[in-house]
């Protein structure tokens, strides 16, 4: 009797599932065939037309096509920076190193930016740009279905703590990485919706012909990724805007944030008026939110 012929306990079930998962998670060969594993015929019985290996291969293909497809859709900008061939190599390495630990496919690419930052498969000059593009693409996913937050109103308590809306991310970047991400303004339904379905099979994505890499020159960039009326936008920020938004995000009160803020190129007399203009615009965009349950020592 082999180790998988009997499932009479939870431990045996888990052992069998672990082996099944190991077999189907090995990367497919170039022709989409599964690497042979002697455990296959111990686990699975053949039928009249398919061997145990072939039956498991259906699941292996499905596994790889589904997760590769999901990542592919989420990071179009990274594909442009790396080129299709290198992208596929790196994506597969990522999916092997960081198998999904979330119940939802939406989170599959959460660690992709950090993985790219350290990946030795990517030449160093390209790596930093790929990392920043991936960061922004993950921000888009995160912002797309984040809560909007509660905007301050006349009824907001005076000591309420203000913070940034969950539907806003701010970044200080080395590259204007957002310019790589085409279609970033005015995403359609299909651009960011992560729709899972209950069928067990998806078709293999057709490989696009080799395409050249796209790059941009380094340039310090301050960027907001935000949702406005259901659509995702990038908005370039000034250094002063970024600094004040960062201070609001990290400070325990608006008073503290304003004290910590060190604007450059602004005369002291102009500060109140500049801050007023900023808040007017940010309020209209829904960027400022009341942190529920938090009270600050002094709201001014």
């Amino acid at each position: 009797m082999n180790a998988f012929e009997e499932v009479k306990s939870k431990a045996q079930l888990k052992k069998l599932q672990r082996a099944f998962a190991e077999i189907i998670r090995r990367p497919l060969r170039d022709n989409d065939s599964m690497i042979a594993d002697r455990r296959s015929s111990n686990i699975i019985s053949p039928n009249q037309v398919l061997s145990a290996h072939e039956r498991l291969e259906l699941y292996a293909r499905q596994y790889w096509w589904r997760i590769k497809d999901s990542l592919y859709e989420d990071f179009p900008g990274v594909r442009k920076v790396l080129g299709e061939a290198l992208y596929h190599q790196v994506a597969e390495a990522y999916l092997i190193a960081r198998p999904s630990t979330s119940f939802t496919l939406r989170n599959l690419g959460k660690s992709f930016p950090e993985f790219l930052k350290k990946s030795k498969l990517i030449p160093i000059p390209v790596r930093n740009l790929a990392f920043e593009v991936a960061l922004l693409e993950w921000d888009k996913i995160d912002v797309f279905d984040a809560a909007q937050g509660t905007p301050p109103s006349d009824s907001t308590p005076a000591n309420a703590r203000l913070t940034l809306s969950p539907a806003l991310r701010i970044r200080a970047l080395r590259y204007p990485a957002h310019r790589i991400i085409r279609g970033s303004v005015g995403e359609s339904d299909s651009g960011t919706d992560h729709e899972q379905t209950s069928n067990t099979v998806s078709a293999k994505r057709k490989v696009k012909p080799k395409s050249g890499r796209i790059s941009v020159k380094p340039k310090p960039t301050f960027l907001a990724t935000h949702r406005y009326r259901g659509l995702i936008y990038f908005k370039e920020l000034t250094r002063n805007e970024f600094a004040l938004l960062s201070a609001i995000q990290t400070s325990r009160s608006l008073t503290v944030a304003l004290k910590a803020w060190r604007p450059t190129g602004v005369a002291k007399a102009q500060i109140d008026s500049i801050v007023g203009d900023m808040f007017k615009e940010w309020g209209a965009l829904g960027w400022i939110s009341v942190n529920p349950g938090k009270r600050s020592p002094g709201l001014t």
């Binding site: 999904s100 119940f103 069928n199």
Partner: protein, 297 residues
Amino acid sequence: MPANRFNGFTDLGVGIGLRVPHYQHILSRKPTVDWFEIISENFLVDGGRPREVLDQILEQYKVVMHGVSLYFGSPEKPDREHLKKLKQLVRLTKTPWLGDHLCWGSVDGTYTHDLLPLPYTKATAKVAAEKIRFVQEYLEIPVIVENLSSYAEFNASTMTEWEFLSEVVEAADCGILLDVNNIYVSSLNHGFDPYHYVDSVPRHRVAQMHIAGHSKFERFVIDTHDAKPIDEVWKLYAHAIARVGRTATLLEWDAKVPSFEEVKTEAEKSRKWLDAVSATHTSSHTSGDAHRGLVGL
């Protein structure tokens, strides 16, 4: 069973899967639909367009939740965060029941995002039943389990799929989401009689049915949900309805999704069997065998 404790004593009729390509049509035209089935995982988010769409749908329609990642056959406990979000969604949608699959998909904290088949043994049934009970108690609504389409069978199996399904639902005291297309697909892949399967499940536990299209290849059949159900699947559905009684039915169409009207027209085909059986089923249960071939396609 038109209405039973496994479907919250409802009689919903014909449902359609809520899918992104149809959002605009549904929200602007507000078509007549008995109910929508949502994939729970697509709405376990804090805000944004998915929730805005759902809020608008809920103003107008009944919604039933259908999940793809509870993995009742994985021995690990369900993810806390997942359950918490599910419960919030249950409260928001007021779904009368929650369906998910009798399968596994995660091991050692990692997820395959696939609906993988189980070895049909008493021990596996016990694992699945305990998990279903746990989820059912936590969510405080009926949980129903769906049979899979599968492409592989385990050497370790000691019973048939329908025996396993019956064992699980009896032990968990839960309902069944009978996917007729999945039975048909698996019957071709594994060489069993799909009618015998339908006749063997405890009919008083069937709370909902699924129908769908599939793809036939030279040596196997795959569940693709990318086309209309074929006549053989409709025949099997007619047989199942005749045996079980009027049951909430949903057409799944997830790939190569056509216009909303086309999906609706196809889904509505099930109504004639629902209506026919509701007229006769109240007086006595008719043998399912007598209804084989009772299809006027």
